[in-house]
């Protein structure tokens, strides 16, 4: 039996109205795009990690994030080869590399790669926290209630629903080829791609078969019978949840305001700026921190029924 991608859990975040997690995650993503300063990005990332921990989904969150960590390491590794704006040169390659010339690895380029990786990690972490704390059916319901992309949301929801089946199919097809004595991971790139054809074609065919069967099942259960639909579950939304929604909107506004007044930026080139805060900036940071982290105590109060 395969683990579902979104195993049902019971935590204060799972009990929140799905809109709260949706809007909070969106506010973190927007703020991560607005700020360059690694301190602000670290704050945002820490908030998403704490949510994953308190929501008891850290293991699943980590399994998702480990791929992002590899991607970030790749970014940090490659960026110095293509960015030559830094002034602190750590190493100069003794030979020319086609297309990029003679690479000079600078401290600033490595730091810029790290900063961008932190931004990427924060965005991915916000999505991971959302996906692991909100049932995809709830997401679907929420978007359908507001008549937002109803067909696209169904397709997305079904894609998530059948992801475990697709992974299982892929594993079985790989085993079939291994059982035939085919080495899928040996040889040059062309040989590897050729060896994968017997995995990819049946995977596509099976997915098409599945799509037909799913459509039959939907049709047989009156899908699309009416332009509107009703909802079995009507997630409650109380005062505290409205507060979380309000504070999420305020987080985005605060981020825009902080950038507007000239804080939250950071220059990596030509030399790394020292990370210091002026006396005027500290209240902004405190307010922003309170806004981003407010979901944690509020969700706890909400789960205790203190609406």
């Amino acid at each position: 039996m395969m683990d579902p991608i979104f195993p049902p859990k019971d935590s204060m975040y799972h009990r929140l109205n799905p809109l709260c997690m949706m809007l909070w995650s969106l506010s973190v993503v927007v703020a991560a795009l607005v700020f360059d300063n690694p301190v602000y990005l670290t704050l945002l990332f820490t908030a998403t990690v704490l949510v994953a921990i308190y929501a008891k989904v850290f293991r699943g969150w980590m399994s998702y994030m480990k791929y992002c960590i590899w991607l970030c390491m790749l970014i940090m590794l490659l960026n110095p080869f293509f960015s030559h704006h830094g002034t602190h040169i750590l190493y100069v390659f003794p030979f020319n590399v086609p297309l990029i010339g003679r690479p000079e690895i600078s401290l600033e380029a490595i730091a810029y790669g790290a900063g961008m990786s932190l931004r990427l990690l924060t965005i991915m972490s916000a999505f991971a926290s959302l996906l692991y704390t909100v049932n995809p059916d709830d997401l679907l319901d929420s978007l359908t209630r507001f008549r937002l992309f109803p067909k696209s949301t169904y397709v997305t929801s079904l894609a998530f629903r059948f992801m475990p089946a697709l992974i299982r199919d892929s594993d079985t097809l790989t085993e079939v080829q291994e059982s035939r004595g085919i080495r899928l991971n040996s040889g040059n790139m062309i040989q590897r791609v050729k060896a994968r054809i017997p995995v990819i074609f049946p995977l596509l065919s099976n997915s098409l078969d599945r799509a037909v069967q799913v459509s039959e099942a939907m049709e047989s259960r009156a899908f699309g019978c009416n332009s509107k639909r009703t909802f079995y579950k009507n997630p409650a939304i109380g005062g505290l949840e409205y507060t979380i929604l309000f504070l999420s909107v305020l987080t985005v506004l605060a981020a825009a305001c902080i950038r507007y007044v000239g804080f939250g930026s950071y220059n990596y080139y030509p030399s790394l700026e020292p990370i210091t805060f002026t006396f005027e900036e500290i209240p902004y940071i405190i307010v922003f921190t309170i806004l981003v982290f407010s979901i944690i105590p509020l969700a706890q109060i909400n789960s205790r029924g203190l609406r």
């Binding site: 579902p4 079939v176 291994e178």
Partner: protein
Amino acid sequence: MIKISDLSFYYSDSAEPALSDVSLKIKPGEFVLVAGSSGSGKSSLCRCLNGLIPHFYGGRIKGEVVVCEKNVFETPTKVLAEYVGVVFQDPENQLLMSEVEREIAFGLENLCYPPNIINKRVEEALDSVGISHIRHRHPTELSGGEKQKTAIASSLVLNPQVLVLDEPTSELDPKSAEDVINVLERLNCDLGLTIVLVEHRLDRVVHHVDRIIALDKGRVILDGHPKKILADPRFKSLGVGLPPIVSLANTIRNRGFRLDAIPLTVREGRRMFSGFFQESRRIELTDKIDRGEIKVDFRDVSYTYPNDAVALRKVSLGFYAGEFVAVMGRNASGKTSLIKHINGLLKPTGGCVLVSGRDTRKADVSKLAEMVGYVFQNPNVHLFADTVEEEVRYILENRNVSEEVICSKTDSVLGLFGLTDKKDSYPRSLSGGERQRVALASVIVAEPDILVLDEPTRGMDYASKSFLMDFLNNYRRSGKVIVLVSHDIESVAGYVDRVVLLSEGKVVADGPRRDVFSNALLFSPQINRLVQGYKHYNVQDNILTALEAEQVIFSEKE
């Protein structure tokens, strides 16, 4: 309730009719079994009842289908959903949501029922099939039987007057299948629901149904009470497997003896055959096993999956040359994990497996594949090439075999499996039985010394099953080892030498089939359960098949 008049249907890409001049009526509350071999038109008939034909599947159609006073051709499927519930064969692909109770509510939400009605109906549907304890589970956490019960509840919640089920148990293990059939019987008896059921395994259902409709090449060949249909020689000629006690009853009648009726259950059989067994005498029923050297040696093998699920616990057993072994046990007992160790797909986490003396922990799967052929349950996973011939020769092309040898072996295997005419066909366009043969041929062409098959008979019709078991029985005579995972006691009882029974990753029984299958409470073929009731007549209790029962009954008389 259902009236079908002169119905004919051709799929858009076919010149042969899927249904031809079908006319029948089904009364309210009837429990009807639709039987026939693969490709006889059973599924097409089901699709006509809720309008998937012609609204979803295009093609040429004539005649009329009226269900609950609605003309199906003029009423969209989504409207018919409130009158006809449909449950499909594959339990996985009909569950759309990520929680059982939401799955059940899905149809009502689409029909815009208010939440208070949805709540009430969902509770009723959960209780009616007995799955309220799994209401919050994700579909991937359900067993096959639970998935099918969820699908049934999802149809029931719309309060339909007819429930149509297209081979709902073909993907299930015997226990889950029995559970699903029992649910159907209860719905039919308690709610008076009209049920139309397609099923290959007649022994599971004949005693529950009121009527059998037999199809062949899209036509209704027989239609009537089960006892009448099962006694009709034309029914067997359709390639439908009869339950063993029905076969025995027909044989007795064919020999000129009188039987009041055809028995449908072991209880009825015991009463009817009592006189015959009373006068029988004991005959020698032992199986001669000529086994050669040990080919696969499991030594204290344990296996734990990365998610800490323990699959095998200190399993020690051997498979020998020329042996035909069935590995059996309930779901999640470790059967598939065991056989995946034979070709190295799984490496033991404790102990070791030796295949022809080679330790699988140190051998690459591609090397073991030269000795071990592995046939997966779903033939579709084997099929990727554009033609049957390419599919079959693929394994040899990857083994540095000369073109001449590849051609000769491929032709020979295509002939052996009756696929020569189909060698240029696209494998996935073939029938289920043909696809299974292509899958088997694509493995057999390499002539493996050890052949491992994972539930190949699941969902197969009788003719395909007989072909497969006969082939395997012949293949092992050339000194090959056959290891077959199966739930199908009736199929393996007549063929295998030895049965290994697993439970919770441990071997709980391992011996000649007659020792394992005899005198068991449930884990025995129908005929053995029948003769267990004649102990007081001193009838031997190691009879496994209808043929052996016939020999025992008539040995004295002959």
